[in-house]
Amino acid sequence: MTCTDFLAQLTDYFDGQISPELLEEVREHTSSCHHCEVVLDTTSKTISVYRDNEIYEVSPEFRDRLHLAIMAKCTAAK
């Protein structure tokens, strides 16, 4: 497996949609190619740091406004 082949498999690798044969090839490649090993590790961390940290929160004021607007709409529609 070349570095380009490795990159082509990266999405399926992270999505758990890679075949066992290709998974083995990815593992073999990253054990001998330090650059790709780093790319694999840091891309994985990139995904988890965004998944684990909520960076945009709904404000309580907006939530109140939203529910008032929804209720007004629902009541008007009845």
């Binding site: 990159l7 990266l10 999405t11 399926d12 992270f14 999505d15 949609q17 330090h34 650059h35 780093v38 790319v39 590790d41 840091t42 891309t43 961390k45 990139t46 995904i47 740091v49 965004y50 998944r51 940290n53 909520e54 960076i55 945009y56 929160e57 709904v58 907006f62 939530r63 406004r65 939203l66 529910h67 607007a69 929804i70 209720m71 709409k73 629902c74 009541t75 529609a77 009845k78």
Partner: protein
Amino acid sequence: MPAIQSPGTEEIHPDVALVARAKDGDTAAFEQLVRQYERQIFRVAQHITQNREDAEDITQDAFLKAYEKLEQFQGNSKFSTWLVRIAVNESLMRLRKRKTSKTVSMDEDVQTEEGSIPRDFAEWRPNPEQNFNQAELAEILRKTIQGLPPGFRTVFTLRDIENLSTEETAEALGLSVPAVKSRLLRARLQLRERLSRYFGKKKEGLPA
């Protein structure tokens, strides 16, 4: 509705009952759906538009539109995916309005190969996020994702932050599965590259 026609082979999503009640005029059921998805819809809108006011307007509009069109929702997809699709369309429309001279679409910037080849091979420090407090970390993550083209950050948001499947992401964005995969790879690689500036180990001998 496939989920109802084939009980036993597929689990019925709890939203199905709530949507059915809401269609029958049960306001509390619709409010329950709003409560369940308001944070997700807001985050999606905020990630795409990068503007809190716009994201709040879009969240409200998306739910009001969903209520109006509830009868059209056939249950072929999950209610949440349908809702996300409404919010994405509203968000892209808002972006287009803001950037009047520039077209904004899911296809923007995908022709270039820029950012698709890794260049930074520095290892990251162990638990790099622990070197920043929560506010600093949030600022780094915001600044980093803001720099991505809208088409890339939208795919990353739906797939990796909101945890939609590749197929659901494709459906919500009106893209093919291969198109989602290609954008996702490039979004992940570009974010990785940019985050390496903050989280990468400093090279020895160079000032920190």
